[in-house]
């Protein structure tokens, strides 16, 4: 399964690290940006299967970004990156509609597992929607 992942973090090195890990272990295609304000236009331009975002960024916070992404594509899962020991903000993000979270400093396997889970969930969501559409052609 090949999917498209969008990663947002103001730290360029983190973007590079995540990109390398994902490229090594999976066949997913990765798009990265260090400017959270670019995310909404990117999402509108073409669909992504997953959004990974840091919570603390200048300009637009991770929480705002989750809300924004949910209005553009409510079915797309969002994974947030949180610092060690700030489980509270991770819980807030889940309440806001995030699918899951990973803590910094992260472990490779942990990330891959979380990403794959989210991608599978999204694929199921899409299938479900397609099935429903077949049964109710009038809803198109």
């Amino acid at each position: 399964m090949r999917g498209k992942i969008l990663i947002v973090d103001d730290e360029l090195d983190i973007l590079e690290l995540l990109e390398m890990i994902i490229a090594e272990r999976t066949s997913h295609q990765v798009v990265t940006t260090n400017n959270p304000l670019e995310v909404p236009p990117l999402l509108k331009h073409d669909p992504f299967d997953l959004l990974i975002t840091d919570l603390r960024m200048p300009g637009l916070s991770g929480m705002d970004l989750i809300r924004e992404a949910k209005t553009i594509d409510p079915d797309m899962p969002v994974i947030v990156i949180t610092a060690y020991g700030s489980s509270q903000s991770a819980e807030e993000a889940i309440a806001e509609g995030a699918y899951d979270y990973i803590t910094k400093p992260f472990r490779k396997d942990q990330i891959i597992i979380t990403i794959n889970r989210a991608m599978e969930w999204h694929a199921m969501k899409k299938e479900l929607a397609a099935l429903r559409a077949q049964h109710r052609p009038d809803s198109r």
Partner: protein, 734 residues
């Protein structure tokens, strides 16, 4: 009554009446004089107030004049930019200029003219609507020469006031305003060259009249205006307009001296100042004669950029208006004072009579007052005896004259046994010498002195606050010193604890912040190291290097996590634990270490101790920390560790002692050992957080941790060591 006695009383009565009569006359005269003085002062005050009001009026008029000129100037600037100025078509020019004249008519605008660049042709439009063109030589006129100067581009010219006649034949002043005109680049040809002058003629008498004619100060006061050459622009007396203010007055009333107003005009008004004053005039609204007047004046500047051109606005009113008001007031005041005096005298007489009659009852009053005094003295005595402070009186050497029962009780005795003894002998040498010097200072300076100090009474340590106050007699000689000594041990402890908690809290948040910041780059380093490890050959030297980097990185990670957990010590959990059991658990862990380090352990644990209200795991953390410190302090040579648990003197607490035979803590470090990041261990050996975390935990459970004894090896070679003491509140049986 015997005759001589009667005589005597009669004589006394006559004398009394005489004194009263004299006093009455004296008082009446006094009232009259005071009345006069007050009325004069009142006059001055009211005059000053009226003049201040007049000053306000003159400022208002000046401000309105300034506003008018700024409006006229703006209109000129606007029209100067209008394309119709360049139009060859005269009809458009006339239309546009008519609008401007209409706009400015109420400000006295009469005529508008435009002179061409060569200065030989002029277009005119007057307010009657008549337009005309004529030729002549305007190039030598003052305004034209001024306008041609390129440095005056965009400025406005204010000419001198010229006298003339209006349509009704009255004399008026006219002001010429000019603005240079330049071609704008968009009009073709070479833009920006001088193309003529725009001239506006304003009837200033009409303009000023608009703002001043209806101004009234008091009942009859009025306003007049002169320009900066001293010429009247406006005056209610019509024939004054256009005349020189200095000359016309003389001409009209040669008998009167106009020195005062001339001085005000010359020195103040014509130099652009504002202020108030007094002068004599020969007339006022048709009344003739030597009339004293109050005057206030303010300058009005024609242009904010050019303070050279200004007019001066005056508001004047006769002082007779003030006098009238004051006069009636003054009469009323005199009547009032007279009534007051009569009332006072009759009241005084009544009082004296009743005094004579009631002398007897006075005596009874005195007796009652004495009784009251006795009662209050008793009350004070009771207060001192029941006070919760030590209250003592001492002489210069410290001999006790008196001490309250509470004070005596602090030394386990009664007041009677302490009187005559020396106060300073009751204390330890250090605090005794402190108090001795304080006493000396009170006797030398004759002023109160306060002091906070630590003192040992019997075998207990206290913090005391003493205030020594000198008791003086009428001649300022010191009789003795009153000392009020309060026990502040409790509050000192609380203060100390608070300070420490604050310090810990702020350092904790600082540490957490730093840890958070470090976490990010650390994660990146570890992540890339991980990726590289996958790409390198197992067993190669690069692999070993990378593994070392990863190990050290992980060490950093652990430190950061420790820091973060230090910043967030879990909140109080409601739990009870047995100190002895917790100690045993910890000792089981360190047993091997003790053996290896040749340390003998002695346990003196009191059985059947009550539970303490604390979290077992956290208590174990504290015990482990202190035992580890003890092991480190004893180094490689071994030693003895003695752990004691027992009930404290107060049955509400228990005590735990950890006594080692290590190097001891140097005196200069004693104040710092609980500070975060303070460590005497080598680099990489200790984090400096152990004791500060321990402190935070123990104080959270309402206990105390401290160094009970420290013998540093530098001072006690062969006999050194440290004793840590922990007190914890026990579980209260409900």
């Amino acid at each position: 009554m015997a005759l001589p006695v009667l005589h005597k009383s009669l004589r006394r009565r006559n004398l009394f009446i005489g004194v009263v009569a004299f006093l009455t006359i004296f008082l009446l005269a006094g009232v009259f004089i005071i009345g006069m003085i007050m009325s004069r002062q009142m006059k001055d005050i009211v005059s000053e107030q009226i003049n201040q009001q007049q000053l306000g009026l003159s400022r208002l008029i000046a401000a309105r004049l300034e506003d008018s000129f700024s409006l006229i100037s703006k209109e000129l600037m606007v029209i100067n930019l209008s394309p119709s100025l360049q139009e060859a078509h005269p009809s458009n020019w006339v239309k546009r200029m008519r609008i401007t004249l209409l706009n400015l008519e109420e400000y006295g605008a009469e005529e508008i003219r435009q002179i061409n660049a060569r200065g030989d042709e002029v277009r005119m439009l007057n307010k009657a609507g008549t337009a005309s063109v004529s030729r002549g030589r305007f190039g030598e006129d003052g305004y034209f020469i001024w306008a041609k100067d390129p440095s005056n581009k965009g400025k406005i010219y204010f000419g001198d006031i010229l006298n003339g006649l209006d349509e009704k034949g009255h004399i008026i002043g006219r002001l010429y305003l000019a603005i240079p005109h330049y071609r704008t680049p968009s009009e073709g040809g070479n833009g920006g060259e001088f193309s003529g002058v725009l001239l506006l003629v304003v009837n200033v008498t009409r303009l000023v009249e608009k703002f001043t004619a209806n101004v009234q100060s008091g009942k009859t006061g009025y306003s007049w205006v002169i320009d900066n050459k001293g010429q009247f622009l406006f005056h209610p007396e019509k024939e004054f307009v256009g005349e020189n203010a200095f000359a016309i007055r003389e001409k009209r009333e040669p008998k009167i001296s106009f020195d005062a107003i001339n001085r005000i005009q010359k020195e103040k008004m014509l130099t652009g100042q504002e202020g108030t004053g007094l002068y004599y005039s020969g007339w006022h609204r048709g009344i003739k004669g030597n009339i004293k007047k109050l005057i206030a004046y303010s300058p009005a500047f024609l242009s904010r950029k050019d303070p050279v051109k200004f007019w001066s606005v005056a508001v004047a009113a006769p002082t007779s208006e003030v006098e009238g008001v004051i006069h009636s007031l003054y009469l009323r005041q005199i009547y009032f004072l007279l009534i007051m005096v009569i009332a006072l005298i009759s009241g005084g007489m009544g009082l004296i009579l009743s005094e004579l009659r009631y002398g007897k009852s006075m005596q009874q009053e005195v007796q009652r007052a004495v009784a009251d005094l006795k009662e209050s003295e008793e009350r004070n005595k009771y207060l001192i005896e029941s006070a919760e402070d030590i209250i003592v009186t001492l002489n210069e050497e410290g001999k006790i004259y008196s001490i309250n029962p509470y004070g005596a009780a602090q030394f386990n005795t009664i007041s009677a046994k302490l009187i005559g003894r020396n106060w300073l002998d009751l204390f330890d040498p250090d605090s005794a010498s402190l108090q001795r010097s304080l006493l000396k200072r009170v006797f030398v300076t004759k002023k109160s002195k306060s002091l906070e100090y630590q003192a040992v009474i019997g075998d207990k340590e206290y913090w005391l606050h003493a205030n020594f106050k000198p008791l003086l007699d009428a001649k300022e000689n010191i009789l003795s010193v009153l000392g009020i000594i309060r026990n502040i041990t409790e509050s000192k402890l609380v203060e100390h604890q608070l300070a420490n908690t604050e310090k810990l809290a702020s350092l904790g948040s600082l540490a957490a912040g730093v840890a958070h910041e470090i976490n990010n780059p650390l994660g990146i380093i570890l992540g890339f190291t991980d990726l590289l490890l996958e790409k390198t050959k197992p067993g190669s030297p690069e692999m070993t290097m990378l593994q070392t980097m990863e190990r050290q990185g992980l060490q950093c990670k652990k430190i950061v996590e420790n820091l973060l957990s230090f910043a967030r010590i879990p909140e109080k959990s409601v739990e009870f634990s047995r100190v002895n059991d917790d100690l045993e658990k910890v000792l089981a862990v360190v047993q091997n270490t003790l053996l290896m380090r040749k340390i003998t352990l002695e346990k003196r644990l009191q059985s059947d101790l009550p539970e303490v209200r604390a979290d077992s795991r956290q208590l174990q953390q504290v015990f482990l920390n202190i035992i580890n410190n003890a092991i480190d302090a004893m180094g490689k040579g071994g030693g003895e560790l003695t752990i004691t648990t027992q009930m404290a003197k107060e049955p509400s607490h228990l005590e735990i002692f950890f006594q080692d035979t290590g190097d001891g803590i140097q005196e200069e470090y004693l104040g710092k050992i609980f500070d975060p990041f303070f460590t005497t261990k080598g680099v990489g050996k200790g984090t400096g957080l152990g004791l500060s975390v321990s402190y935070a935990i123990i104080t959270k459970f309402g206990g105390m941790i401290s160094v009970a004894e420290s013998k540093p090896f530098q001072k006690f070679p062969g006999n050194s060591g440290t004793t840590f003491k922990i007190t914890l509140p026990v579980r209260q049986e409900n």
